[in-house]
């Protein structure tokens, strides 16, 4: 199936979705006549929350096409967006960098996962 058919000719998603926007399965059901890819997206998100990029990679479909299908599923409450952002993605004027508090947590998390990893310059 061509991407154009998949999205029924639409070229822009109706929701603001980032490449890293994470989606969880919701309680709603998609409307009738959805393409098979919508069921695939729902099945993947029921298993584990997934980012837009991961869904596109697993479906082997372009990100924009997947964003269009995800928008349909959000409208049907079949998907919900996880609050995961370290910053406010919808506010273009917001300071977009993660806070130093989060960076410190990331550093600790990485060190706990890989105790043998060494960052430079070494502390001290």
């Amino acid at each position: 199936m061509r991407t154009y058919t998949l999205t029924r000719g639409r070229t822009k998603p109706r929701h603001l979705l980032g490449l890293e926007t994470v989606l969880d399965a919701g309680t709603g059901r998609p409307g009738p006549g959805q393409v098979a890819e919508c069921e695939e997206i729902l099945a993947l998100c029921r298993e584990h929350r997934r980012s837009v990029t991961e869904l596109a990679g697993r479906l082997r479909r372009p990100v924009t096409a997947v964003k269009i299908l995800v928008s349909d599923l959000l409208d049907a409450d079949a998907l919900v967006v996880s609050v995961t952002d370290a910053y406010t993605a919808s506010d273009a004027d917001a300071d977009e960098r993660p806070t130093t508090h989060l960076l410190a947590a990331l550093s600790v998390g990485l060190k706990r996962k890989w105790p043998d990893a060494v960052g430079y310059p070494k502390a001290g």
């Binding site: 926007t21 009738p32 980012s51 596109a56 609050v83 960076l103 990893a117 960052g119």
Partner: protein, 222 residues
């Protein structure tokens, strides 16, 4: 079955942020791994990712090579760009975190994608193959221009000449503040070390005051 809630007509729905977000999920942080073809981006992502790196496609609209200079109209054409995606969870971090890794090619025409990937990112790793150093210039300039903290990681390929990091710094005309490290992109400890270096550098950059790209200079009071 249609929802009981009446929905506005498609034509009237403005582009909007998704509503009813779900709380309680780990915070997502992202890091961009850029580099030339064959520099080892997919290998580096795969070394620390909990999933096999996914190759994801996106469309890019780029100015065509055949520009009609008389009319001043650029022929636009759509191309497909592939980038890698990997993720790992850090449940033992003080705050539950999930880290997304985006591996992206180093050519000029991917700049639109880099903007998307860089928004809100911790920073970037520019993975360097010293045999193809020139492919690192574009990503280095890009991250410098937008003020995203980055580190340069020299992927030490078997059999390739080992340059000293300072030689690479000089060749790439890097500021002294940007860390240059060596790594084996196949080794999870090495890649995690590069990520730690980047996080440390991002903390320093943040405390030194956010680097602002020239385009977003704040308005000054008269």
């Amino acid at each position: 079955m249609p929802s009981a809630t009446p929905r506005p007509d498609d034509s009237t729905v403005a582009l909007r942020s998704p509503s009813r977000p779900q709380a309680g999920a780990p915070t997502v942080l992202k890091i961009v791994i850029a580099g030339g073809f064959g520099a080892g981006k997919t290998t580096a992502v795969g070394a620390v990712s909990e999933i096999t790196p996914l190759s994801t496609e996106e469309y890019l609209t780029e100015a065509g090579a055949d520009v009609d200079s008389l009319a001043g109209i650029e022929a636009k054409q759509t191309t497909t760009v592939a980038f890698d995606f990997g993720r790992l969870s850090l449940p033992d971090a003080p705050v539950p975190l999930e880290l997304f890794l985006f591996g992206t090619p180093g050519q000029d025409r991917f700049v639109d994608l880099w903007y998307d990937l860089s928004r809100g990112a911790v920073g970037a790793v520019v993975l360097v193959d010293t045999r193809r150093l020139e492919s690192s210039f574009t990503p280095v300039s890009f991250f410098e221009d937008i003020g995203l903290p980055f580190v340069v990681a020299i992927n030490q390929f078997d059999g390739a000449h080992r340059y000293h990091p300072e030689q690479v710094r000089t060749a790439l005309e890097l500021p002294t503040s940007a860390p240059v490290v060596t790594c084996d992109a196949r080794d999870p400890n090495h890649v995690a070390g590069v990520l730690l270096t980047l996080v440390g550098h991002a903390v320093k950059s943040a405390s030194a005051g956010p680097a602002r790209p020239a385009a977003t200079t704040t308005l000054q009071d008269a």
